[in-house]
Structure formats: C-alpha cells, structure tokens
C-alpha cells in the first residue's frame, strides 16, 4: 500500500511539537467551556430548544393563563410574571446540561479529559461557565420577548444592574445542580428524567408564576420558603420598586441577602459533590 509507505517516511521526520506538561486551571476551564458553547450553537436541536423554549412558554403564560390570573396590588400580570419567569427560566434552560454531562461521562469524553495533565476541577468549572452563558443567552431572548408583550421596568439603573447580576449568579450556582445530576446518572436519558423531576415542582410550586397566597394552605409553606420564590421576590423587589405593594412582605435587601445565602449554599454543596464525583479515581 503506497499510502502507508509515504506516511511512514513522513513520520520518521522529527516532530517540532513540544512535549506538553499540562494546561493551567484558567486555560483548561476556558477550553472546556468553549467546547460546550460550540456544541450548543452548532447542534440545531440544542440551539432551538435553548433559544425559543423560553419565548414559547412566556407567550403561553402571558396570553393563555394570564387572563385568568389576578395578582394583588393592582399590578398587571405581565409585570408580576416576568421576574419570576426569568428566574425559573434558569431551571428550564439549565436542564439540558444534565444529559449533556451524562453523555460526556458515558461516551469517554471525560475519561480522555481526566487522563490529561490538567486540574480535573477545571473541566467542571468550564462546564458551569458555559452553561451559565447559554442560560443567559436563552434569558436574553426571553427578555426581549417580555418587552414586546408589554413588560415594563419601574426601577433605576442600579437596581436593574443588580437584578441582572443576581440572575447571572443564580444561573451559575444552579448550573452545578444540573452538572451533579448529569454526573450521578448512568445514562443521558436518566439524567434528563431526573432533571425534569426536579425542575417541574421547583418551578411550579413557587411564587414565580402566581402569587403564593393563591396556593392551598398546605402547599404555601413549601412554596414560600423554597429558593426560587426567594429569587423571584428579589427580582420583583428590584425591578418593580415597591415590594409592599404586592404582598411579598419584606424589603428588597431582605430578599437579596436571602438570595445570596441560598446561592452560596447551593454552590458550595453541589460544586463540591460534582468536583469530587468527577475527580475521584474509581
């Protein structure tokens, strides 16, 4: 075979490639993140889901359920809805990360990465950065639609910037939950199932889409104290100016601080589990 021969001679020539002794934490994280982001934008199914899903749901809530939902304090439903909708969008948009991680774990991609001379945690940090960026992309599209369907901000610039920062923070911290689900699942389908089982109750048993006061009394304590209600209320407080007007009971500072505490807890617990799970030698 002539091709074999020519290749043999080509190879005997000394290579000019230096021997690699491994990338540092930042480079390794960014390279891992880049892979996830390219994967998203070049896989039509992922791109479609991550881009239009939020917009589709917003349209339905705004125009299909919205007419039947009354919120206290004379607030229009769309103004009530959008902060909660954006924050729960973190759940819906973050969900596909679980099956993505599970797939990388089962197809040998992670074994390859674990065999490289890089800090193993960097692979997971890269993933969380990329997932956050992708979630923010989906939320950006949703937010544009929110303004189109009538949402208006009543806040000063500083509060809006703070609101945006909180969304990024929640998205980042919660991405670790989906990564953890992906790592502990044996298959991509199982990961998707587990993520769905988590997302549906957390998104709906909350004050994100309807005021918690409208829930039956036995469900209210759950809804009022779970993190996505806290996040929703923090965003409402920041973007609507007067929290007391629609019965969320506390000051903006209260909700923001509580959000920060929840985020820190979620991040610490799940990033620890994920990194230990990824880095362990079986």
């Amino acid at each position: 075979m002539t091709t074999t021969d020519s290749r043999t001679t080509g190879l005997a020539a000394p290579s000019t490639i230096p021997h690699g002794t491994g990338a540092g934490f930042v480079t390794a994280s960014l390279q891992s993140a880049k892979r996830t982001i390219l994967q998203f934008f070049r896989t039509p199914q992922l791109l479609m889901l991550g881009t239009v899903q939020g917009a589709l749901f917003l349209f339905m809530f705004r125009y299909i359920f919205g007419g039947a939902i009354r919120v206290p304090g004379g607030l229009s439903y769309v103004d009530f809805l959008v902060p909660g909708f954006l924050v729960t969008g973190i759940l819906w948009l973050g969900m596909p990360a679980s099956s993505g991680v599970a797939e990388d774990a089962t197809t040998g991609v992670y074994d390859r990465l674990r065999s490289l001379p890089i800090p193993r945690a960097s692979v997971m940090f890269g993933r969380s950065l990329a997932d956050t960026a992708l979630t923010m992309w989906g939320l950006f599209v949703t937010a544009v639609l929110a303004f189109i369907v009538g949402y208006r901000l009543e806040a000063d610039v500083l509060d809006v910037v703070l609101a945006l920062a909180l969304i990024v923070l929640v998205a980042y911290c919660f991405s670790w939950v989906f990564i953890t689900i992906g790592l502990i699942s044996k298959t991509a389908q199982a990961a998707n199932g587990m993520a769905t089982l988590l997302v549906i109750p957390v998104a709906f048993i909350s004050a994100a889409y309807v005021p918690a006061t409208t829930l039956p009394s036995w469900l209210r304590p759950v809804a009022e104290n779970q993190p996505f209600t806290v996040f929703s209320n923090a965003l409402r407080s920041l973007t609507l100016g007067s929290p007391r007007a629609f019965g969320i009971g506390h000051t903006t500072t209260y909700w923001v601080v509580l959000t920060l505490i929840w985020c820190a807890g979620i991040f610490l617990v799940f990033s620890t589990i994920a990194i230990m799970r990824f880095s362990r030698q079986r």
Partner: protein, 329 residues
C-alpha cells in the same frame, strides 16, 4: 532505563466481579505491547488504572518509573489515552478538536496550531481538518481520536481497542498510523480482542483472561508454546480429499482434519520441513494432483485456544462496545 509500564499484583473488584486478579505486566520501551483477551478479561480496567482513571485495590503501577498512585499528575504528563469510543467533539472540526486538546496539554496558541496541523497531516486528515467531525466516517473519527492523544507528544500511548467496530479498510489505516508512531519513538500499549491485530502490531503479546495473565511473549514464542506446525494440502479435485487425508495420517502426529468448505486437509506435525518433504513425496507416489501444499505455524487463534481452552471469536461478541469489559471499568 525503567520499563515504560511496570505493574505488579494488581487487583480490582467491582461488586461481584473480580476485574483484576493479581495482574502483573511489564512493558519495555521501544515496541508495541498488546494485551489480548476476550470481553471482560480486565483489559480496559488495566488501561484505566495505568491512565490513573481508577485506583487498584492493591498492587503497584509504575509508568516510566513514576508511581501512578502517589504521583498521578506526572503519569498524566507521560501518557496519552485513546479509547474504544471516539471521544472527540462531533460539533467541532478536526482542527478545532486537536487544537483544544493541544491547549489542554499545555501548548501555547501557536504551538497548538502547529501541533494540530502536523498531526492532521500525519494521519492523512489534512483535507478534512476544516470539516465538522460529525461528518467524518468511523475510521476517520478513530484516527482523529488517535491524533488527539498525540498532540501533546506523549511518551506512552494507551490504545483501548482502537479498531473495534471498524471496517477492514479503517483498521488497515489505523494500523499504519500506529506503526508510524512506533517508528517515531512512541511507546504503545494496546488492548485488542483481535489476534490478528496483536500479531500485526505487537512484539510483546500478553494474553489475559479473568483479570490474570495467562501467558506472555513474542507472537513467535507464543506460537511455539502452542506447539506444532501444521501441514495443509488442497488437492485439485475434491475426490482426492480422502486419499490426502490418508496420506497426512501417516505423517501427522494427530488425526488430520478435513475442511469441506475450503477443500483443505490439515494435520499437526512433529517437526516441519522434513515432514513436508515426506508429504509431497507420498502425494507424488500416489499421483494426487495438488493446488496448494504448505507448512504453516499455528495462528494466534490456535495459541489462544491452546492456552485458555476457549475460542476467541470477536465476531461473536456483543456488538455494543460498552459491554462487560467497559462496564467493569
């Protein structure tokens, strides 16, 4: 110089499965070492242990003298791993994939670009470098996967069933690439279920089963262990088959075997050339015309059968690459 791999007394248990059961392997630098065994023999588990992906329950592994347990990071600087799955990103181009891995190996941007180009060239993928990997054929993906472990110029390449599931052409191409690497000075440990692959590529073959080494040596030594040479005769007319069988029965040390499909009669013999000459003379005396007569060494298949008592037939195994061996890991 320390052997490139020195493993001693490795054990690893997954639940009820004893994946490694006192495995000891030494692979010297300078040639391909092949780990040959059926699914579930412990091959993937061993490779994973060398790659520091799993920790054996007991035993030691040294890679180029470095202890994998106490200094895994340095072991990772020495090895490159390519597996039975093509672990490259389908949504990136060949070039992008290689550049990414090169950056992860710690190369700077321009070195990474150069490394990617050089490896693509070497693996005959230069023309496909700008195409998304999802449009590659299976053989091209495997070659790129191999390339991804080369961009960091590892001293030791671990190839876990690199050609499983490839068509013959893809296998040939990958073999050529592996031979090139060895010629370029890279040490290779490869696992395979294909005896032919071990025979073609490796100078040191270790046969494993049930997590233990059954036997080891060069392909020739192993063939010697399996013992006798075989004389094979194919008569011109099928009608002569019984007569040929009779002739071989006089020379061979065991009853000859007639294969009706290939119209060949074969018999194991004590010795070689002298016996072949006798067979030719006898056939001549009896006026039997032959198309083919020859002496051949036992194949590695026969070696495997002789040492393990079971047939190794990869075509018979689970087509799912993630079968017993992989699960065990």
């Amino acid at each position: 110089m320390a052997p490139i791999i020195e493993a001693e007394g490795l054990t690893k248990r997954f639940g009820d499965v004893q994946a490694l059961d006192g495995l000891s392997i030494t692979a010297e630098s300078g040639h391909v070492t092949a780990l040959l065994g059926p699914n579930g023999a412990g091959k993937t588990t061993f490779v994973s242990a060398v790659a520091t992906l799993l920790r054996p329950d007991s035993g030691t592994i040294r890679v180029a003298g470095v202890d994998a347990r106490t200094d895994p990071k340095r072991v990772r600087e020495i090895i490159g791993l390519a597996g039975q799955y093509a672990s490259i990103e389908p949504a990136m181009t060949g070039t992008e994939n290689l550049r990414m891995v090169a950056r992860l190996f710690g190369l700077g941007r321009s070195d990474a670009h150069r490394a990617a180009d050089e490896v693509l060239e070497r693996l005959d993928l230069a023309d496909a470098g700008d195409r998304l990997v999802r449009n590659y054929s299976g053989g091209m993906r495997r070659r790129l996967d191999l390339g991804a472990s080369l961009v960091g110029r590892p001293q030791l390449l671990l190839l876990d069933e690199p050609t499983t599931g490839l068509d013959p052409r893809g296998r040939q191409d990958l073999w050529a690439a592996i031979r090139d690497l060895v010629a370029g000075g890279t040490d290779v440990l490869l696992t395979t279920q294909y005896l032919e692959e071990a025979d073609q590529l490796a100078r040191h073959v270790v046969i494993v089963d049930h997590g233990r080494v059954i036997t080891a040596g060069t392909p020739d030594e192993l063939k010697d262990q399996a013992g006798r040479n075989v004389i094979e005769v194919r008569p011109r007319s099928a009608g002569d088959l019984p007569a040929v069988e009779e002739t071989l029965a006089q020379i061979g040390c065991e009853a000859p075997h007639t294969d009706m499909d290939t119209q060949r009669v074969s018999a194991r013999v004590e010795g070689g050339g002298d016996q072949l000459r006798d067979v030719v003379r006898l056939l001549d005396e009896r006026d039997i015309e032959v198309d083919d007569v020859g002496l051949r060494r036992p194949s590695l298949d026969e070696v495997f059968l002789a040492v393990t008592g079971t047939q190794l037939d990869p075509s018979d195994t689970d087509p799912d690459p993630q079968s017993a061996d992989a699960d065990a890991a």
